[in-house]
C-alpha cells in the first residue's frame, strides 16, 4: 500500500487518468490513419460519407483500391523481398554473434561488444549515405581501372538490404544473446557425456533452445526492415519499397484514402506478426 506513494484516493485517480490520457495520445494518430480507409469519400477527411471497402477492393479509377493499384502492390512485393532477406541474414549473423560473445574468450571482447552495439546509435541517414558513398566509390574505381560496370554496387535492392542489415543485425544479436545467456551449459555437457558429437549437440540441444529467440528476432528484423525509411531513402534504386512509394505519393500526388487502406493493411500485418513473436517467446508451461 505504501508503495502507491500518493496513497490518497484523489492522487491515485489522477495518476490513472494521466495514464489513460497517455494511451489515448498513443492511439489517436493510428485511429485517424485507420478510420478513413473505410470512408466513402475521395479525400481522407471529414465529413463521414458512409462505410465502404472500395479503397481495398474496387478496381476502377477514381477509387482504385489498394489490391488493384499496381505501383502499391509492386512496392509491397519489393518491401517483402527486402524484409525476408534482411531477416534471414541478420538472424544468421546475430546467432553467430551470440555464440561469439557468450561462449568465446578472446582479447578485446568488451571493445568488440561495444562495436556490435554501435550501429544502433548511428543515425540511419548517416548509415545510408556512408554505405552509398563507399559502394559508389568502389564501383567508380573498378569502372575506371578495369572498365567493368558493377551494377550491384549502384543504388538498388542489394544496397538497401545491406544498409538495413547493417543496423538490424545489432537488434537480432542482442535478442539472441540474451537467450543464449540463460542456457544451462550442463545440458550440453550431459549430451557430450552420453557420446553426442559437437554438431549433434548443437542441432538437437542448443539450437532448439535458441529457436524462440531466433524466430522473435527474425520477426522484429522483418518489421523494422519493412518500415525503415531513413536508410532506405539514400540507397533505393528503381525498385522502390512500399514506404518510399507511399511517401512519394503523399508528398507529390496528395493523399487519397488508398494510403489509409495500406496503413490498415500494414497495421493488421504487423499486429499479427507481433502476436506470433509473443507466442513463440512465451515459455511452455512446465508439466
Amino acid at each position: 500500500m505504501l508503495i502507491r506513494g500518493t496513497g490518497s484516493g484523489a492522487g491515485s485517480v489522477l495518476f490513472k487518468l494521466y495514464v489513460l490520457a497517455f494511451f489515448i495520445f498513443l492511439a489517436a494518430p493510428l485511429l485517424a490513419a485507420g478510420m478513413f480507409a473505410f470512408n466513402d469519400s475521395q479525400f481522407p477527411s471529414l465529413p463521414w460519407q458512409g462505410f465502404t471497402l472500395d479503397w481495398f477492393f474496387n478496381d476502377t479509377e477514381p477509387k482504385l483500391g489498394m489490391f488493384h493499384d499496381r505501383r502499391l502492390l509492386r512496392g509491397l512485393n519489393v518491401s517483402f523481398m527486402i524484409a525476408v532477406s534482411v531477416a534471414l541474414l541478420s538472424v544468421f549473423v546475430g546467432t553467430c554473434n551470440a555464440f561469439l560473445f557468450v561462449r568465446g574468450r578472446f582479447p578485446g571482447k568488451n571493445f568488440f561488444y561495444i562495436l556490435m552495439v554501435l550501429p544502433l546509435v548511428i543515425p540511419g541517414v548517416i548509415l545510408g549515405i556512408s554505405i552509398l558513398a563507399l559502394a559508389s566509390n568502389v564501383a567508380n574505381g573498378v569502372e575506371e581501372a578495369y572498365n567493368l560496370e558493377l551494377e550491384f554496387l549502384r543504388p538498388g535492392l542489394l544496397l538497401v538490404i545491406l544498409g538495413q542489415f547493417s543496423f538490424i543485425t545489432t537488434i537480432t544479436s542482442l535478442v539472441i544473446t540474451a537467450r543464449l545467456k540463460k542456457f544451462d551449459i550442463s545440458l550440453e555437457e550431459a549430451a557430450f557425456n552420453l557420446g553426442a558429437s559437437r554438431a549433434g549437440v548443437l542441432r538437437t540441444i542448443t539450437l532448439p533452445f535458441l529457436r524462440p529467440a531466433m524466430i522473435a528476432a527474425g520477426i522484429v528484423a522483418f518489421l523494422v526492415s519493412f518500415e525503415n525509411f531513413n536508410t532506405t531513402l539514400f540507397l533505393v534504386g528503381s525498385d522502390a519499397p512500399l514506404t518510399i512509394t507511399m511517401y512519394d505519393r503523399m508528398v507529390k500526388v496528395g493523399s487519397t484514402p488508398v494510403l489509409n487502406a495500406v496503413s490498415v493493411f500494414l497495421m493488421l500485418g504487423s499486429g499479427v506478426l507481433a502476436l506470433i513473436s509473443l507466442l513463440v517467446q512465451r515459455d511452455k508451461p512446465k508439466t
Binding site: L2, I3, G5, T6, V19, F23, L26, A28, P29, L30, A32, A33, F43, S45, L46, F92, V93, L100, G104, F106, N110, Y113, I114, V117, L118, L120, V121, I122, P123, G124, V125, I126, L127, I129, S130, I131, L132, A133, L134, N137, L162, F165, S166, T169, L174, K181, L223, N228, F229, N230, L233, F234, M246, M250, V251, N260, S263, M267, S270, L278
Partner: protein, 288 residues
C-alpha cells in the same frame, strides 16, 4: 585437439561479425570522412582540404540548423522522459500483474507501425481540413478552420510521439527489477513521496533513464520523416540539409562533411550525458 577446434570455431564465428562491422560500419564511415576532406577545385578535380567544413562554419544557415536540431532534440528527449517516466512507473510498479503485461503490449503497438503511417495519422488529425479542426468548427468553438501543422510545437509533439516507446521500454525494464522493499524502506524512514522519488527511485532507474535518453536523442537528431511531414519545408532539420546536399545538389563531398558533423555532434552530446550521469555505454545501451 580440443583447443584447436575451439580456436577454429572461434575464428569461424568471428568471420561474419568482422565482415559485418568492417565492411558495413567502419569502412563506410572512414570513407565518408575521406570524402568529406575532398575539395572541389575544378570540375572533376579534387584536392585534399577542409573546404567543406569551412563552408559549413562560414554559412550561418548550416550551423544554425545543426544547433537548432540539437537543441530541439534535447527538448524532445527531456519531454519524452518527463511524460514517459510516470507511465513506465505505473506499468512497472502500480499496475496489477495482468494489466501490466497488457499495458506494456499497448505501449509497443505503435512501434510496429512505421513512422510514415504515424506521421500520416497526425497530419489527418492536425491539418486545416483535419479532424480536430473540423470538430472544433462544428462544435462552434472556432469560426474558421485552424492549421495546426507546420509549427515547431507540432514537430516537437510528433517527435515525442515517435520516440516515446524507446524511452518507456528501458524504463519499464529497469524499474521492473527494483525491489518494492526499497521504496517502502524509504517511506518507513520518514521520506515523503518526492524524497523517495529523488533519492531512491531515480538513482536506481539511472541506467534505464540514460539508455532511453541516448537512444531517443540519437533517433530524434537523425530523424527525417517527422520533421519534414509535420514541419513542412521550413522545419530546418539538419538531416534535410544532408539529403539536400546528397540528392538535390549532388554535392557528395559537402554532404559527407555534414554527415560527419551530425555524427560528431550527437556523439559529443551522448558522451557528455554519460559523463554527467556517471554511466558508461556498456552499463546502459549495451546491457543485454
Amino acid at each position: 585437439m580440443g583447443s584447436d577446434i575451439r580456436k577454429l570455431s572461434l575464428l569461424l564465428l568471428f568471420l561474419p561479425f568482422s565482415l559485418w562491422i568492417l565492411l558495413l560500419i567502419i569502412l563506410p564511415h572512414v570513407g565518408m570522412v575521406v570524402l568529406s576532406l575532398k575539395e572541389k577545385v575544378a570540375p572533376r578535380v579534387y584536392e585534399f582540404g577542409f573546404g567543406n567544413y569551412i563552408d559549413f562554419f562560414m554559412e550561418p544557415i548550416y550551423w544554425n540548423t545543426l544547433i537548432r536540431t540539437g537543441l530541439m532534440s534535447l527538448l524532445v528527449t527531456f519531454l519524452a522522459l518527463l511524460i514517459g517516466f510516470p507511465v513506465a512507473y505505473y506499468i512497472a510498479k502500480l499496475a496489477g500483474n495482468r494489466t501490466k503485461g497488457m499495458l506494456f503490449m499497448l505501449c509497443l503497438i505503435p512501434l510496429w507501425v512505421s513512422d510514415l503511417i504515424r506521421a500520416f495519422g497526425w497530419i489527418l488529425l492536425l491539418r486545416e481540413s483535419g479532424i480536430i479542426s473540423s470538430f472544433l468548427l462544428s462544435s462552434g468553438l472556432i469560426d474558421t478552420p485552424i492549421e495546426f501543422l507546420y509549427t515547431d510545437a507540432t514537430v516537437i509533439m510528433g517527435l515525442v510521439y515517435t520516440v516515446m516507446l524507446f524511452m518507456i521500454v528501458p524504463l519499464v525494464s529497469t524499474l521492473d527489477g527494483m525491489d518494492n522493499a526499497m521504496i517502502e524502506a524509504g517511506y518507513n524512514l520518514g521520506g515523503n513521496g518526492f524524497t523517495v522519488l529523488r533519492r531512491i527511485i531515480i538513482p536506481y532507474a539511472m541506467p534505464g533513464i540514460v539508455s532511453g535518453c541516448i537512444v531517443v536523442f540519437m533517433m530524434t537528431a537523425g530523424s527525417y520523416l517527422t520533421p519534414i511531414l509535420m514541419g513542412g519545408k521550413n522545419s530546418s532539420w539538419f538531416t534535410e540539409q544532408i539529403y539536400d546536399q546528397f540528392i538535390s545538389r549532388y554535392n557528395w563531398e559537402s554532404g559527407a562533411a555534414f554527415g560527419f558533423l551530425l555524427l560528431a555532434f550527437t556523439s559529443v552530446v551522448v558522451w557528455l550525458g554519460l559523463k554527467l550521469s556517471g554511466q558508461t555505454l556498456s552499463s546502459t545501451v549495451a546491457k543485454s
